[in-house]
């Protein structure tokens, strides 16, 4: 009997923790100023929240039906593998499309260094690539064909 009470407590804790983590990830995606900041919330917070919820579901069905379930573990593993790949591809897309970003943060991405930054769109370093051109070339934002 005590085992069921402890299992219920663990499952309830994992469910609430997963909900809070997923909520925090989506809140970060809504509230941050920048695409590169906004990328942090869903790739880490939401993934951890979904992992917590799936492990809670696995524990629930394992305890109540007295046999081990691996489907939730499969979904968890798949999400934990694919979330960093998605984050990497989204960051590459943002760098490729020269999205605007804010400068109020410490440090900078090596791809975005040595440029006059601000609320404008960011271009590649014009000095390094075109030393013969005077001044900085205003490049139009590259859009997909």
């Amino acid at each position: 009997m005590l085992f069921y009470v402890i299992a219920e407590g663990v499952i309830a804790f994992l469910l609430v923790a997963g909900g809070i983590f997923a909520f925090t990830g989506s809140l970060g995606m809504l509230q941050f100023k920048d695409f590169f900041m906004r990328l942090h919330g869903p790739t880490k917070g939401t993934t951890l929240g979904i992992g917590c919820m799936l492990i809670a579901s696995m524990l629930y069905f394992t305890v109540t039906q007295r046999e081990f379930h691996v489907q939730e573990l499969l979904i968890t593993l798949f999400l934990f593998i694919t979330a960093p790949v998605t984050g990497h591809m989204l960051a590459k897309t943002g760098l490729h499309m020269h999205l605007r970003f804010t400068t109020g943060t410490r440090g900078s991405v090596p791809e975005l260094r040595d440029e006059d930054v601000g609320q404008s769109r960011v271009a590649r370093p014009a000095k390094a690539r075109h030393p013969w051109r005077p001044g900085r070339q205003q490049r139009k934002p590259r859009l997909p064909r």
């Binding site: 309830a12 919820m53 629930y60 979904i75 999400l79 499309m97 999205l99």
Partner: protein, 89 residues
């Protein structure tokens, strides 16, 4: 206790999905909307898992697995389209 935790978790997930929809509607650029869609399908997986816990069935986990795989493929396809201008070269 489990019912209370389930209701709290459902409310949080619904709030998270509504925030994703807000970001999807007003995202200034295409990658923002893509990120919102990605988070939306991940949250829908959580919603399906909570529905399975609520109804005490295991019927919906195949749907969750399918949504996970096809959502990843869709996000990769749109990312490749934005990066290269083509999906399969």
């Amino acid at each position: 206790m489990l019912d209370t935790a389930l209701m709290i978790s459902l409310g949080l997930i619904v709030a998270a999905m509504s925030m994703n929809v807000i970001r999807l509607a007003r995202g200034p650029d295409v990658p923002d909307r893509l990120l919102a869609l990605d988070t939306l399908y991940v949250n829908s997986i959580a919603l399906i898992v909570l529905l399975g816990l609520w109804l005490n069935t295991k019927t919906y986990f195949e749907a969750a697995m399918l949504i996970a795989m096809l959502g990843f493929v869709g996000t990769m396809a749109i990312c490749r389209y934005l990066l290269r201008g083509d999906i399969i070269e």
